[in-house]
């Protein structure tokens, strides 16, 4: 029996070229990455935080190869672009939250920054649309040396924007996902 290919599997051939990775020995929990993301994306932050034992670590979208958020979106607002980045089409998103619930890593915020009352003010777009990390495509798409804003602002050098093979060779983690277990990332 064969199954019809889903949108995610059909597009998974376009593999992400670069990812934001974190050096766990360098994150000082200053949240500069979250502030940079917030102010650069119309007050719709996509950098969230997970506490793991002693550490408070940033988590953002991993740009999955087979992205469940793309499958789950009823408005076809989530698409993978030519660079392999899963992006949300601004004017097609209806803010239903399906992608947030489908995300296995919980890195798509359903309610920005946990403040539904403030975020859902009628004069603001946030809360009516889902925020989604696009790796600052406005600057990284045309410049191979450009980095997303969260990486540019990181004062300790913990965040890097690099090829996944380079990250794995250096023992760096893709941020997001594996930050739920207690003491998983105990510092030296």
């Amino acid at each position: 029996m064969t199954t019809a290919p889903t949108a995610a599997t059909a597009e998974s051939a376009r593999v992400i070229e670069k990812r934001v990775v974190i050096n766990l020995d360098r994150c000082i929990e200053c949240r500069s990455c979250a502030a940079a993301c917030y102010y650069s994306h119309a007050n719709m932050p996509v950098v969230n935080f997970a506490r793991s034992g002693w550490a408070l670590l940033p988590v953002i979208c991993r740009q999955c190869k087979a992205a469940p958020c793309v499958d789950a979106c009823p408005a076809e607002a989530m698409v993978r672009d030519a660079h392999g980045v899963v992006r949300r089409k601004l004017f097609q998103c209806i803010g239903c939250g399906s992608c947030a619930r489908a995300c296995p890593f919980g890195v798509i915020p359903n309610e920005p920054a946990g403040t539904p009352a403030a975020a859902k003010r009628p004069d603001r777009m946030s809360g009516h649309q889902i925020a989604k990390c696009d790796l600052c495509a406005d600057r990284t798409a045309g410049d191979p040396d450009a980095v997303p804003r969260c990486v540019a602002a990181c004062p300790s050098g913990a965040l890097q924007f690099t090829d996944e093979r380079v990250a794995l060779a250096e023992g760096l983690e893709t941020i997001g996902g594996r930050t739920t277990a207690e003491h998983l990332f105990r510092r030296r």
């Binding site: 000082i28 200053c30 502030a35 980095v147």
Partner: protein, 549 residues
């Protein structure tokens, strides 16, 4: 990078500082700032396309604050609980009428370009009934006086990678996140680099320590002295096992970096700690990186003596004086929002605890809107450009003071003001060692916040900070939390005497039992541990607190 001797101090000039650019003024790292239009009347912070290692979360807020909806743009007077708009001339006359025959004390934010401080000093010198006080955080002032007295060599963030050992006092990563890079670069290169930490508040920096030195809320100076004793300094303090181990680990250092931040509500002995740290670093061939609140704290502390200004403690102790705060939230900083003292008039960019208590409020430019000379970390004299011009009709701090003086008949000067070179302070006497009374548990201390600057008078208006958490976070050891029956992330009330604050609890395994730590970036938190004038300085001590859900 070139190093030259100037005025007895090491002046480091790096190539990146030769071109004047807008810089963040919230800490001495002085990160470059950029803004971008986010709409016809809205600007937001923007970031370099390549890794720039800043600005941090506090600096990111500045772009938004310049055009903030709550920005004070014109003078106003409180009458019957409502604000009535005034002209600058009417406001000046009202202040002079309220002063009558009394002296007028100008409390000027010390975190301003040196040219602004010098211009204000010249104006107040000609204005006979006025005295000028440069306001910096009292704990920072004490620490920097102690460092100067100890002959400290000041390090910049870029110098840290060449250090071969580190001693961190307080949560230095929260005070100046940028210094983490140099330290962590060195550790990546030499994984066995010794990193000792003395922090009873259990901040994020202590998590990176190879040698965490256990200490109590009152015991920071004694612990530092015990570490210093292992370097041969005569401190007469017995070393505990942790301090002994840390001192032994640092003994092989040929270039020790001592990183310090003077947090509120920790100790009354910052001056002694500064001198000790300077001597220890010198003995180990290194230097000190102090991380005060405000980019120009060191210049303000040095210029206080050079420009003939009056220490804040002296102003607050004086009677029959009308206080005018210019650019600083002095009541919020001291934890005095409830009428312990008042400023009749307050000039501020955004509402704060001082403007809330004032009768007359004046507009004033923010420090990032003023170009000028700053003394950043490593004693770098750096010239900056304004990030943006202040809104129309909003004067610079020196112009506010000149307008008040002009209304009192003092003619304005037209000569341009040059930035004087801040000289190292010498000859400040060290206060007698205090004998703190025994306290019950838990003891409340304040801790630097990575997301708020000062008492949050500016950053508290940031939309990101408001979305992040409206209430301050209280760190508490898990065993203490169980004993007090408070749960992680629960809302709780902290009480010190009759004062209280609503907080959110976070259990922190890194914190020693018996101590609870509260972020200092909120005026309500500082009000729990208010400063007091003692022996010609302002001190702020830990206190016994109670925590309940």
């Amino acid at each position: 990078m070139t190093v030259e001797l100037q005025g007895g101090a090491n002046v480091v000039t790096s190539p990146s500082t030769t071109q004047a650019v807008p810089r963040c003024t919230l800490c001495p790292a002085g990160c470059e700032l950029r803004v971008a239009a986010a709409g016809p009347d809205v600007v937001r912070s923007d970031y370099a396309v390549r890794p720039a290692y800043g600005p941090c979360a506090r600096g990111s807020t500045l772009g938004e604050l310049i055009g903030h909806p709550r920005r004070i743009r014109r003078p106003a007077k409180r009458t019957g609980g409502r604000w009535a708009p005034l002209s600058m001339r009417e406001a000046s006359r009202a202040i002079l009428e309220a002063a009558g025959d009394r002296r007028i004390a100008i409390l000027l934010d010390g975190n301003l370009p040196i040219e602004q401080l010098a211009a204000a000093a010249i104006c107040c010198e000609r204005w006979e009934r006025a005295s000028l006080s440069l306001v910096v955080e009292p704990t920072d002032r004490e620490l920097l006086i102690g460092l100067d007295a100890g002959g400290a060599t000041y390090l910049a963030e870029d110098d840290l990678a060449s250090c071969d050992g580190f001693l961190m006092i307080g949560d230095v990563f929260a005070a100046d996140p940028r210094l983490a890079k140099g330290l962590l670069d060195r550790r990546a290169e030499q994984p066995r680099t010794p990193i000792a930490a003395i922090d009873p508040g259990g901040g994020s920096a202590s998590k990176f320590a190879s040698h965490a030195v256990a200490t109590t809320a009152d015991g920071q100076r004694a612990t530092l002295a015990a570490v210093a004793a292992t370097a041969g300094l005569d401190t007469q303090d017995a070393a505990g096992p942790d301090a002994q181990r840390a001192g032994t680990a640092l003994a092989g250092c040929k270039r020790l970096g001592v990183l310090m931040t003077a947090e509120h509500g920790r100790t009354t002995e910052w001056r002694a700690m500064g001198r000790l740290a300077a001597e220890l670093a010198t003995r180990r061939g290194g230097g000190v990186l102090a991380a005060p609140a405000g980019a120009n704290a060191l210049a303000a502390v040095r210029l206080e003596a050079q420009l003939g200004t009056v220490p804040l403690a002296e102003v607050l102790a004086a009677e029959d004086t009308l206080c005018v705060a210019v650019g600083c939230d002095v009541l919020g900083m001291l934890g005095w929002p409830d009428g312990t003292a008042t400023c009749f008039a307050a000039a501020a960019a955004l509402p704060n605890a001082t403007t809330d208590a004032a009768t007359i409020v004046l507009p004033v430019a923010m420090s990032v809107e003023l170009g000028g000379t700053w003394l950043l970390s490593g004693e770098r004299r750096v010239r900056t450009e304004p990030l943006l011009a202040p809104p129309a009709g909003v004067p610079a701090p020196a112009e506010v003071i000149a307008a008040l003086a002009a209304a009192d008949g003092v003619p304005a000067t037209t000569e341009p003001v040059e930035a004087p070179l801040p000289q190292r302070r010498r000859g400040d006497k060290e206060p007698a060692a205090p004998h703190p009374a025994p306290r019950g548990a838990p003891v409340l201390v304040l801790a630097r916040s990575p997301v708020h600057a000062g008492a949050g008078e500016w950053t508290g208006h940031g939309s990101w900070q408001q979305a992040l958490a409206g209430v301050p976070e209280l760190r508490i050891a898990p065993s203490d939390a169980r004993q007090m029956n408070v749960a992680n992330l629960a809302a709780a009330t902290v009480r010190v005497g009759e004062r209280s604050a609503t907080v959110r609890v976070r259990t922190a395994p890194e914190l020693a039992p018996g101590t609870v730590a509260l972020a200092d970036g909120y005026a309500e938190c500082r009000a729990l541990l208010p400063g007091r004038v003692e022996d010609g300085r302002i001190v702020c001590e830990p206190q016994t607190a109670s925590v309940s859900c």
